[in-house]
């Protein structure tokens, strides 16, 4: 009874995956019908291209920065949400909005918040006299600020997801263990770092690994927020692949760029299997 699904997936995932590899070694273009193998030509040219190298660097940097921030914030938030309080359900709903709303729409919201002229952040900073009117930086217009904005939006999206997973992980720790630690003399920080977090390692790993995937393979945030600009400073591998392959009609180069996602995905998949395996052994 599972054959239909397996066949469906094998066809519609397996074949495109193989095609992606084939394209990367070809000269395919949108609209054209030519298809010749060109060996490693595509890879050579993109590896020489500075925008590719920037995109690769960005992909890695954005992902790592976002994950670091998300882990810390979601831990704090999970601790705050643990004990029941009045209105907790409503607070949870609000906190989850970034994750449950469609990516593109949340990102547009941020685009409006970070708008170069009408940004509410600018308004507040001007009102606080941090900047003179009309002299505040362009949040999406200056390369470093734009990069920070992309990371910000990714964090904003991921914190709810991570928090919920952390909450699940914390609730799986039997109540008596932190109590024993309290009686043994451990304070808040020692209990957190030496007891809670080590016991939550499987869950933490899952949250981190999924978070890495969501950030590393996302092109929506970049596409909508900055379109890769200014001057390609916020391009990431997926967004560059789209810009090159679809917008730029160079299917082959686009495919080659997107293949660079594979090593990271393989590593993540391997680590996830390790975590799942360990969980069963314990």
């Amino acid at each position: 009874m599972f054959m239909p699904s397996v066949v469906f997936i094998a066809l519609l995932v397996g074949i495109p995956f193989v095609l992606a590899v084939l394209y990367a070694f070809s000269d395919a273009r949108i609209g054209g019908t030519s298809f010749h193998f060109v060996g490693f030509e595509n890879f050579r040219s993109i590896l020489h291209s500075p925008s590719f190298r920037k995109a690769l660097q960005n992909s890695i940097v954005f992902t790592l920065c976002a994950q670091a921030i998300v882990i810390v914030c979601s831990n704090i938030l999970a601790i705050a949400l643990e004990k029941p309080f009045r209105g907790r359900g409503f607070v949870r709903f609000l906190i989850l909005l970034p994750w449950v709303a469609p990516v593109s729409l949340g990102t547009i919201g941020w685009k409006w918040i970070l708008d170069s002229i009408y940004s509410v952040i600018t308004w507040v900073l001007v009102a606080l006299h941090v900047y003179k009117p009309y002299s505040a930086p362009m949040w999406l217009g200056e390369p470093h600020l734009a990069m920070a904005s992309v990371v910000l939006v990714h964090c904003w999206r991921l914190i709810p997801f991570s928090t919920v997973i952390m909450l699940a992980g914390r609730s799986a720790i039997p109540r008596e263990i932190p109590e024993a630690a309290a009686i043994d003399g451990a304070g808040f920080w020692r209990t957190l770092f030496q007891i809670n977090i080590p016991m939550m390692t499987p869950i933490l790993s899952v949250a981190v690994l999924f978070g890495i995937i969501f950030t590393f393979t996302d092109m929506t945030v970049v596409y909508i927020l900055t379109a890769g600009g200014p001057f390609d400073s916020t391009q990431t591998l997926p967004s560059l692949a789209f810009a090159t392959g679809i917008a730029g009609s160079d299917l082959a180069a686009g495919a080659a760029i997107s293949l660079f996602l594979v090593p990271v995905l393989v590593a993540v998949a391997y680590l996830m299997l390790r975590v799942a395996h360990r969980a069963e052994v314990v």
Binding site: F2, P4, L12, A28, V100, A101, I165, A172, P238, S258
Partner: protein, 283 residues
Amino acid sequence: MSARGAARRGAARAMHVFVLVFFTGLLAFPFFWMVIAAFKQNIDLYTVENNPFKFNLPPTLDHIRLLFGETRFVRWLGNTALVGAIVVAITLLLAVPAAYSLTRLTGRWGERLGIGIFLTYLIPPTLLFIPMSRVVAILGLQDTIWSVVLVYPTMTIPFSIWLLMGFFKSIPKELEDAAMVDGLTRFGAFLKLVVPISVSGILTVVIFSFTLVTQEFVYALTFISPESNQMVGVGIPIFLVRGDVYFWGSLMAACLVASLPIAVLYNLFLDRFIAGFTVGSIK
């Protein structure tokens, strides 16, 4: 209770409240902001000196009227709903039997195939979209909603199978054996016994698949060009911008209308999704 104990508890409380207010504010702010922008008159919206937090001129329904009357917004909502419904149906049709038979498969193969299927969920659209666009073109589905109807199940089915396997595993085999002793065939037992018990699991799959359709961006952007056939998640950022001009009021209204119902729906089933994500790491 002495002052010292009360003071210590008071400080902890204050910290607690601060953390909650800070994060709730940060995370929910953009949506609050959407609400304000959606109802502000353009003059108010685009005057830099005005305090953005209040309505300096009375609120207006103009943006909403524009959105529903002069754009294809309603059409996009309809497209998305239709695609969502069909994809949900396809997913259920394929994933439910698959999950069931994989769970009941004796030996390690069931587990292995299950994990293999789950791993395909890790292959992102941003890797496959380029060759997929060619496949879609060859099949003649380019620029129609059927392109995504075909492709979205590749994303919903793996995760759904994984979710459902978790559910079916918790139904003891003895229940079905008893039903078969009572005269049902294995398929009859499945239909009359397993499915009703797993209603919440199946509901979770429905919600998950539907929300995935609404969230998806890359495939819809790649496969569908004409405005009237587009999904709402792509239509809003692409087509509500005329040239370089952003109609922020209508844009925000659109985001709000499209996000909130989905958010409510997803929220109701969150705990089950998390169970699926954590791959049984929590016992």
